[in-house]
Amino acid sequence: MNMEASNTESTSLPDQTDLAKKRDLMQQRVSRSLKRRHNQETRFKLMGMAAVGTALAFVLLLFVTILSKGLPAFWQAHISLEIYFDEEIIQIDEKPVRMVNESEAAFNQRMLAWQTQLGFVNFNRIILDAISKEIPEARDYQRDAMRLVTSGERFGLRNMVQEDPSIIGTSQRLWLLADANVDVWMKGNINRELGDAQQQLSARTRDWVDELEAKGVLKNRFSTALFMNPDSRSSLASAGLAGAFVGSLMMMLIVMFLAVPIGVASAIYLEEFAPKNKLTDLIEVNINNLAAVPSIVFGLLGASVFILWFKMPLSAPIVGGLVLTLMTLPTVIIATRSTLKAIPPSIRSAALGIGASKVQAVFHHVLPLAIPGILTGSILGIAQALGETAPLLLIGMSSFVASVPGTPFEQSTALPVQIYLWQGNELRNFFEARTSAAIIVLLALMISLNAVAIWLRKHFETRW
């Protein structure tokens, strides 16, 4: 505006000096306003940079928090003990062998009787004997000594004997998992200055821990328990992700084998075959909506249809898989449709032109070109389903399951649900880190899935 004003005035010249004055004034005004406007420009740009910076900072903060909390949990306190499988303590019969004319039921019963006998063996005494080799006074303070090793390890020893009874009477050096509280104390996850009343371990046990650590008997070793064991509540240190991992894997397989074929088929129908009318319009709106329906609503659907009507088992991966399939379906359909849309019509025309039928044109010519896009979309959908928690809670997966499921019809948890369960554990000092470790595992799986998707897109996708 200002420039226009100065232009018009320079064309009509009434008085030289007056004009120069006016021009000076005008230029001052313009330069002042320009300065203001340029400042505004810089401010605006800085605000934009600040916004991007904030968003990136959030990403960074999130990852740094989770990694710094979770990475130490991959290494867990272990105690090295000379375990003597004392034949005085382990007094059991010979392990039964199935006889020729024995029915399976009878053999199972004999086996169970043997296992019951083994179950009565006091493995705690074996552990205590081993501890007292390291700490001589441990025998006098059994309670304090037994707090060193997590309670689940006695079952570990029992399983060793059950597998191979010939180890009775021999001794071997084993790394046993230390108690969760020992781990907390060693890593300094509890304030060491707190008084006895607030400490989880007695003063004597704490001294022993420091002593054993100095001797190198107690050490942080890579925690295989985290990956190999199912969840546990009685022996917190040996709680692991195996059950949740297998449960999640089963659900992902179900999603993969149901959502992807069904989604791709319906996308093909809607994009290539369906007549364009009100009905297909409605279906399209419906699918777009379904993609934005809150995931918890799918959980409600699963609870009322699969659990209440079809009487499917609670907490089973099959139900979780079906619910997640329904949830992933719109994602797969939308991704496939946009890939199909991007393939130029000339390819279809060329196929039709040389006499292919419509089905042939689609399946022989269009679909092969769309495969990379379809795969990318499907993998992203599966990754999204992997991280979903809320619908699983509603089909009973919030329950505690201490076993690895063998079939999709057994009780199971899933990785995100395990995270939910662990974050609520009372022993916060220990489980904050372990939950973060579980999150790292989940994120690592999701990131690898996404990386595969990105790689597929980069290497195979054709831009038309």
């Binding site: 409600l300 659907l301 990754a383 809320a390």
Partner: protein, 461 residues
Amino acid sequence: MNNLVLIVVLLMMLALVYQIGLVRSRKVAITTSGSKVRLHSRPVYHGVLLAIWTVVPAALIYAIWNFLQPGIIESMVVAQLPPEALAGTDNDLRILLRRITNLSTGFGLTDEALPYELTAAAYMQQLRVTGQTFMFALIASIAAAALVFNWKRIQPELRARNHVERVVRFLLIACSTVAILTTVGIVLSMFGEAMRFFSFVSPMDFFFGTTWNPRFSTIGASGQTGFGMLPLLWGTLMIALIALAIAVPVGLMAAIYLAEYAPSKVRSVAKPVIEVLAGIPTIVYGFFALITVGPFLSTFGATLGLDIRATSALTAGVVMGIMIIPFISSLSDDIITQVPKAMRDGSLGLGATKSETIRKVVLPAALPGIVGAILLAASRAIGETMIVVLAAGNSPVLTANPFDAVSTMTVTIVNQLTGDLDFASPQSLVAFALGLTLFVITLCLNVVALVIVRKYREQYE
């Protein structure tokens, strides 16, 4: 194991029959005189068609038979049991049948079997063998008949391709109805359960009640109170508003910067990194809120003299805001880049600075699309569950103080359905009424947003 073998056998049959069709088709293509005849369809289609006609009926019979056989055998065995065996309760009968099944499969029993159990087991075993034999015979004969009949139909003029394509088309249509059935299922199931809930509690009390305090009571007891939805709705809205108050400025400014200012290198790194936020599972955000953001806000509030609870509407809102930043930034980015370049050039040509062009020309043009993006983000925030379950504090009271703990509709759905409640009680059924409300709210937001975005796209395409 047996079933697995059978499935493999069926698949092999499929392949074999396909080959037979192929061979036959090639044979009919050459007439006795040695000259070639034009086939209507390629040999492949003859093979596929023959395979479909032969194996699909066989597989269907196999499935139905296996579905019905155990029940029929069981009732036949029960029918010939002596009366003294049937004297007990249903449970006793189930145990008895279990024992007989174990005996008949050769698994055996741990104690002595009664004589009638042994005869029943033998009878069951015999029935099973007969059943299996009959099934195999039936499947084999039907498959063979279909094979022979359809093998003869393979003639040059058979429109095999059209038949196969009709089957393919039917399968495609069947698949695309799944999505529709899902919607129908959601609406019907939630509507049905919600109606059952409204037979206990009047809709007026539910939608306009201001206290949420459902107490345990026996089924059918009259005077159910404390099912007022408003505190939950208010908690949901408050958290969503806090989330939008964080995500809209950050997301929008980030989108503007990335679309208009950022050098392409910055853009190609920053955009995917911000989008990572959208891919992180919400349970992770919930945990993040619980261990980092909540305590931080609480101590921060203490230095200002504010009493902020670690799990509060503010904590949940802030973290949810972080989560929905990418929804707003990505969609707005797309929309801003779609504004025609000519409009920018016009403004710049008149002497406007870049920021003036953005604020006065680009943003007004992109406004409908941005509103659509914000609405989509809002619907995402309203339906979000895990963040609020962990970080909102679960206290269903009507409060205007964002530093207090609140509860939301999604949290309540989870709470009401994960306890040890009977599915038929109003305490559980209320979850479906809440779910229906949630579904309707998010549906409206989504439809409005989609319509706006679509209109906007059409305007500039």
